[in-house]
Symmetry: C2
Subunit: 554 residues, 2 copies
């Protein structure tokens, strides 16, 4: 029995963007939102701008029946569009800049985008691909740093800043249903065409709350509060890219947007805007740490908090960060569900020495509130929490897509009957409940019926001083079906000075320590100059497997 009374107009308070902005406008009205050294305004002005933008978009016919594709770097204009379009009830399709033109066309035709917001530098790209659009767009809206007119075949054309200038400040955003889908994008799967995931403001905000609790309520090296200054490094078309801005506005933090990724710009923003917190994949960190003049910035990196996700980072990276005073914690999520686990510390670990804490903060970690995880074997039975039995990680979470849009077949393949999402990641769970991702299910080496997790081996190999990058892949074996094959990029100063035998001996030490069984050691290592990368900057094992498919191991 529900006690809701018929005929009364009071209903549940909807969990929508409008409500998130409301309280921050009171707390943080004068806080700044900064885009490079180009634009700087307060939360108040931000709200005024998105109201003006929304009123103009509405005049152009954009309502809750429309899909808007956006193609831009993390600029203030993207940030504003992110809020305004969803708050109109329209669907925002955040197009992945890293996809191939063919894939981009495919995703646009999949969703039948009605309108496009495109950064000026990408006009030539869109002039080409627009020939392949199945549906004629209502219009194109151009963003950019300069106010300029363009000659282009894209028509009808509007300029973003004109729309803002012509907008109405007294526009009122509608009261939306919290479960309305307003965010859509595609996973950058390395196999097959991208898969379409979709989110309501309820899901987005619950994810933002989960992030917020994970960053404030539990001890960790990267605790934050509203006084922190956040740099929105992950692209808005990725998971953390869309959820951290909501967390930032919910908490009323000063927000810094980097635009196109350039190490010097990012480091200068950290320095000049006093950035204290950011997040992203390992590549972002490396991009900064590898910057030739990094030492000029060392005073400003000291104390910087970094939420690292996208892959299990090496222990070496954590130690390298520590040298710079950068505080780092691992997290785990994916396009389908953004943030599942944070490697926060349990209370009794707070006073441990750093080396011991590192065994935990350098894992995927513990489930956030409103996320459930389990690691299961082939029969769907939970594996023991012993820190060594691998299984597939399954997830249920408040921030998880409710399937692949318009793709019941792949949805059925990836969700269990009781709503668990099969991540395709292989994990182990330790006695404290911390999850460690040790491989992708499709990358795991199946040797004589047993699993050899490649990411786990890569992590140990990265601890060798000469190794810059490493990928372990499945090589063909007549006896064992598959055997591990190591592909290695050495640091330039070690090129030619390290042998296969050296690396095998390095791993043999971990065999002695009981960390891995002897038969996990790769049978062969191949030294190469550079790793092939996927669109999101991860090592592309598919390419490696294809390249070395003719090698036969014992």
């Amino acid at each position: 029995m529900n006690m809701g009374e018929k005929g009364l107009y009071i209903r549940d308070f909807p969990i929508i963007f409008k409500k998130v902005i409301y309280s921050s406008l009171i707390r943080s009205s004068k806080k700044e939102i900064v885009y490079r050294d180009l634009k700087r305004y307060t939360y108040e002005e931000f709200y005024s701008r998105i109201k003006k933008l929304a009123s103009s978009l509405k005049k152009l016919g954009i309502d809750d029946n429309k899909t808007v594709g956006i193609f831009d770097w993390n600029t203030n204009q993207y940030f504003e569009s992110f809020w305004a379009i969803q708050m109109l009830g329209a669907k925002l399709h955040t197009i992945n800049l890293r996809l191939s033109p063919e894939q981009i066309v495919w995703t646009i035709n999949y969703l039948e985008d009605d309108v496009f917001i495109i950064r000026d530098e990408f006009i030539p790209v869109f002039e080409k691909i627009s020939n392949y659009f199945k549906k004629k767009p209502l219009c194109y809206i151009i963003t950019g740093d300069e106010i300029k007119q363009y000659q282009t075949t894209l028509k009808p054309l509007y300029y973003y800043e004109d729309l803002i200038n012509q907008g109405l400040t007294d526009f009122e955003f509608p009261d939306l249903e919290e479960s309305l889908t307003t965010l859509v994008y595609f996973t950058s799967g390395t196999t097959g065409m991208p898969k379409c995931v979709y989110f309501s403001q309820r899901q987005e905000i619950l994810q933002a709350i989960m992030n917020s609790i994970g960053l404030t309520a539990y001890p960790s090296p990267i605790n934050i509060n509203s006084k922190d200054v956040i740099l929105l490094l992950p692209p808005l078309f990725h998971g953390y890219g869309w959820s951290l801005p909501i967390t930032a506005v919910l908490m009323g933090m000063k927000i810094v947007l980097p635009g196109k990724y350039e190490p010097k710009v990012i480091l200068d923003l950290i320095k000049n805007e006093k950035v204290t917190f950011t997040a992203g994949v390992v590549r972002f960190l490396k991009m900064m740490l590898d910057y030739p003049e990094i030492n000029k910035y060392s005073d400003y990196l000291k104390g910087l908090k970094f939420l690292q996700d996208g892959e299990h980072a090496s222990r070496e990276l954590f130690l390298q960060c520590r040298k710079y005073g950068i505080k780092i914690m691992e997290a785990y999520g994916m396009s389908e569900g953004v943030g599942y686990t944070f490697a926060t510390l349990k209370d009794h670990m707070v006073d441990w020495p750093y080396e011991k804490q590192l065994d935990y903060i350098n894992k995927a970690g513990l489930p956030l509130p409103f996320c459930e995880v389990k690691v299961v074997d082939n029969e769907g039975k939970e594996v023991p929490k012993d820190g060594k039995t691998p299984g597939e990680l399954l997830v249920r979470s408040a921030g998880l897509t409710l399937g692949y849009f318009n793709d019941p077949k792949r949805t059925m393949e990836s969700w269990t009957q009781d709503g668990w999402f099969k991540t395709g990641d292989v994990a182990i769970v330790d006695e404290e409940g911390y999850i460690l991702i040790i491989d992708r299910l499709k990358d795991v080496v199946k040797s004589g019926g047993e699993w050899i997790p490649t990411v786990f081996l890569e992590d140990l190999l990265m601890r060798h001083q000469a190794v810059k990058e490493v990928a372990v892949i499945a090589g063909k074996s007549e006896k064992w079906s598959e055997r591990p094959l190591g592909i290695v990029v050495l640091k330039s100063e070690y090129e030619g000075k390290v042998s296969e035998e050296d690396l095998k001996n390095h791993l043999a030490k971990f065999v002695e320590e009981g960390k891995i069984p002897k038969w996990w050691i790769p049978d062969k290592f191949i030294f190469i100059k550079e790793m092939p990368l996927t669109s999101v900057g991860k090592i592309d094992k598919k390419v490696l497997r294809e390249k070395y498919k003719d090698i036969i191991l014992p």
Copy 2:
């Protein structure tokens, strides 16, 4: 258009208790829940106990169609019942211990409670009142500190600990709809019969999240995290009483339950269990501070964080707390909606001197996320944020009851057409957006068509060194219709030494400072020995108004 796909089994992740406990069982499995010096167990054991309790209750016929009345102090058994009964989907009626027997019978008959959980010491009360129950209960369940058999007319009778002992640890809680009503109780209104408010687990958890963000994400004197130890002081049958336990479990804190309120027990718990955080009305604080042997505990009160609500507290109380090292912050909520605003600091106030911060943390404060507030005049127009124009405070909030259960008339009176709840509180808003409650609408003195807010005057009067307690009420005036009348209890050492004129002169200083207009000064003061109190320990102005109704002011 919603993208949800027909035929698929994936649905929104429900915001229910089961999910809150899930993640804390992983993070905080070994954290303790402590009841006085009588009971102490881990979160794991807590979960096992509520599963056993729920399985036994289900056997007794308690399901989502039943209402369970509970009558107890804040004991571990009450705490367990709070979770187990709601997680079964049944409605928990938290009976207010402070109501009169007549009112208690009235509330029980209003909801037609099916089952009662009663503390042993209250068996005699229930033996008497059960004669007036309209519906025959399914059974009575007895809680208590000792395992004992009772001779009683209450039948059929079960003992709580027997039910736990006979329960099943492998019981599985059902997957409930998040909007199902599972918590019901009555406001202790000072006019008319109590009003029935009702909450779903969605509302309860969103309120707990709002509390959590308010206590962790924004700077305040009482920031907490999972390492804090919480003393659950407010009774579970009050607003903060039910929402803070959920916040505590969500954050995985050590939890301490005081049982029956006894200053020595509370102070000993603070000392022995290393309590760092608690909350409640002013009376709780005074009960501690007035304890004769308070100085024995001064080392343990140092640093204690106190979230103060229930009324606007005097500045003197804040200063008195500061002497003991107790950190205090005001909050504002009510039975209908628990926590609307917290007086957290804005970031730019963090480095201010305490005296200046006090002008803000000693107000109702700023709306929490997912709460909207506005202060309106008689025509429903928002008053200026000038720190002096009074209006009625309206609220919309994720944690607010959706009306008064089964009482459309009073619901219509208290909610506007667009879903704003009329709090009946008179407030002013300052330039920073901080709300200060200055009166109850019904207590405000209407003098010559203008409002004189009595709580505001009381606050200024409390700053006089001789004043222990004060109430300003409306006295009859032929000329002005109403004029303020001050009722004062002096500190014992000042009795007979302070005159009406002294108090008027005291207020005249604030007139000179421009804080209040001259015509707000009460025309008369009456000195009494003791204030009449309501069931929740507030000064009962209704009684005072009745008592002094024959006094005629100029």
